[in-house]
Amino acid sequence: MQPVWLPRHGLQHLINVLRDRGHRVVGPQVADGAVVYRDLADASLLPTGWLDHQDGGVYRLHHDPRAGTFDHVVGPHSLKNYLFPARETIEAWSRTPDGWQQTTPTYEPEQLAVIGIRGCDLAALAIQDRVFMGGESIDVRYKARREKLFVVAVNCRRAAATCFCHSMGCGPAAGPGFDIALTEVGDRFAIEAATEAGEAVLADITGRVSLVPLTPDEVASVRHVPETLRETMQARVAEEGKPRPRSLDTEKIRELLFENLTHPRWAEVADRCLSCANCTLVCPTCFCSSVGEVTDLTGDEVSRERQWASCFTLEHSQMHGANARPSTASRYRQWLTHKLAGWIDQFGTSGCTGCGRCITWCPVGIDITEEVAAIRESPASSPPLSPS
């Protein structure tokens, strides 16, 4: 569909239309010192005028009157928090005089609409779709939530120093997978629909505010917005007073990493790594979980709970009588090589989208791009993988 102009006050109509159509609307808002996703009823709560400075282990917001509504980039939350929640009861059983009775409530996912999804997170959504729904085993709850998701994407026109989506081919333009995409230009937004659901929402907005189609020249210039940013990112031009933006050389990265499994850098990064799991929890593609039974004191009520797990914890690799990855070095190596190399064998793409969350939210600022660069700088040919 031809993009149309949505005036700034039209954002409220977008929210209203989504709510009227039965969606729970979630959007970016400033809270607790960051831009996070929260329920959104009022467009004035969107983070207009806020910019995020991000670096290894550091995130700070500052107000800039020149900044638009979506000139912040990604915060600690992602779609993962909604589609693959941190904790979920998947079954419940009760002991009765007649034996065990299943009491699992019927699962009815909500109709969720999320505003502000960037290219990197759309790519992450596609990756999690492959993980949870791509093979023979389908995660029914993820699928039920996913089918009801409505995505309002945003084309980035600014990158933080931790962003490297351009290296991973995941942005800054919002790729496929959205229902509606917005591009902010001056005091209005070019808005376009990519699905029938998206077109229906635009049609409903048209009844409340007039949407003027873009001229062909305007279309070309709007398309150029993320393209201009991509060129800036590729040239690694820093924002004033900010660190140089990241990039990650992905050339033969699978071979590079698998050939360097005994590289001294793994031990060096382990001196800094806390094994705290933050990187995996903020990663929009990390999908590990553990399943366990929780009982009440009498043991008459049992629920089976799934919760996020991380390859950085010792218990994740604990097997009968032994631990497969007892050292931090082995666990960090597992995470990085799976994310950037093993993932390609397993799912056909990298597991990294260049969102930079693992860099920002690492309490000691360990930088995935720096670790790969260090190995690339002095590759050693490596003997076959040995345990520990």
């Binding site: 996070v36 600690p76 941190a86 991380s310 000691v364 600022g365």
Partner: protein, 263 residues
């Protein structure tokens, strides 16, 4: 026959015993009916009747801080088939273990008019320093849900299910924005064992390490080094690791390294 329970207090604030009462008193109905699973035979904080030992399970609150405590904990050990220490005092010496860095005679003469009447140890010790402990339940105070899990696991003969990860996992689970990254507040969450549910960061405060050092090689040197490079004061970092679990080996070592007292 139902298991017979005993609860004991040593040097402590009684907060962990209140958590036991919280569980027993069904203040949290979802925990079920602990009092119907066990016979409470010895619990002076909750009832005056005392049933004779031996007991199947003993819960011990508080640190060992006097010669008399040493004798008493040895007797208790003999009376209890399964001995569980509860809380930071019993598992790590508690906040009162700060005295372990000072001179006991200095404290005695500063506090008491007639120090000669005081019979005390020079240190505040975890229970495990004096007798064999079967299970340590950490926290300041302990979490009622974890206590219920330990007791029900004991009653049915299985392993308790307790978190084996850092407080960061709990913060991320509840969606809390990291106070260290977003506000520059030095926080012990990444090196502290989970258990509280990430309470303090959800209220804009740092983690104080109430559940003790994370069980998997907590990398304190890296964490405090990062905070120091980002402007934190070395003395304040030393005080941060020197609180309720100050005498836990990993926190103690880091405090001494930061203050230059390291051997």
């Amino acid at each position: 026959m139902r298991p017979r329970l005993a609860v004991y207090k040593f040097a402590s604030c009684d907060g962990c015993q209140l958590q036991v009462i919280d569980v027993l008193g069904r203040a949290r109905p979802h925990l079920g009916e602990l009092a119907e699973l066990l016979d409470i035979e010895h619990f002076l904080e909750a009832r005056s009747r005392i049933g004779a030992g031996p007991y199947d399970v003993g819960l011990v609150e508080g640190s060992v801080s006097t010669p008399h405590d040493i004798e008493r904990i040895k007797e208790i050990r003999q009376q209890c088939r399964f001995l569980v220490t509860i809380g930071a005092c019993a598992t790590a010496g508690g906040i009162q273990a700060l005295r372990n860095w000072g001179q006991i005679d200095d404290f005695l003469s500063a506090v008491y008019a007639t120090p000669a009447y005081i019979d005390t140890l020079a240190t505040s010790d975890p229970v495990a320093a004096h007798v064999k402990v079967d299970f340590e339940l950490r926290g300041c105070p302990i979490d009622p849900g974890q206590l219920a899990s330990v007791i029900s696991a004991f009653c049915v003969g299985r392993k308790p299910r307790l978190p084996g990860y850092s407080v960061c996992v709990e913060c991320k689970e509840r969606g809390t924005v990291c106070v260290a990254v977003a506000k520059g507040i030095p926080c012990l969450g990444p090196v502290t064992q989970a258990g509280c549910g990430g309470i303090c960061p959800a209220h804009d405060r740092e983690c104080f390490g109430c559940y003790g050092p994370d069980r998997q090689e907590p990398n304190l040197v890296s964490l405090t080094g990062f905070y120091e490079r980002h402007g934190a004061n070395r003395d304040s970092l030393g005080r941060l690791v020197q609180s309720f679990n100050a005498w836990a080996p990993e926190f103690r070592t880091e405090h001494d390294r930061l203050s230059g007292d390291a051997p």
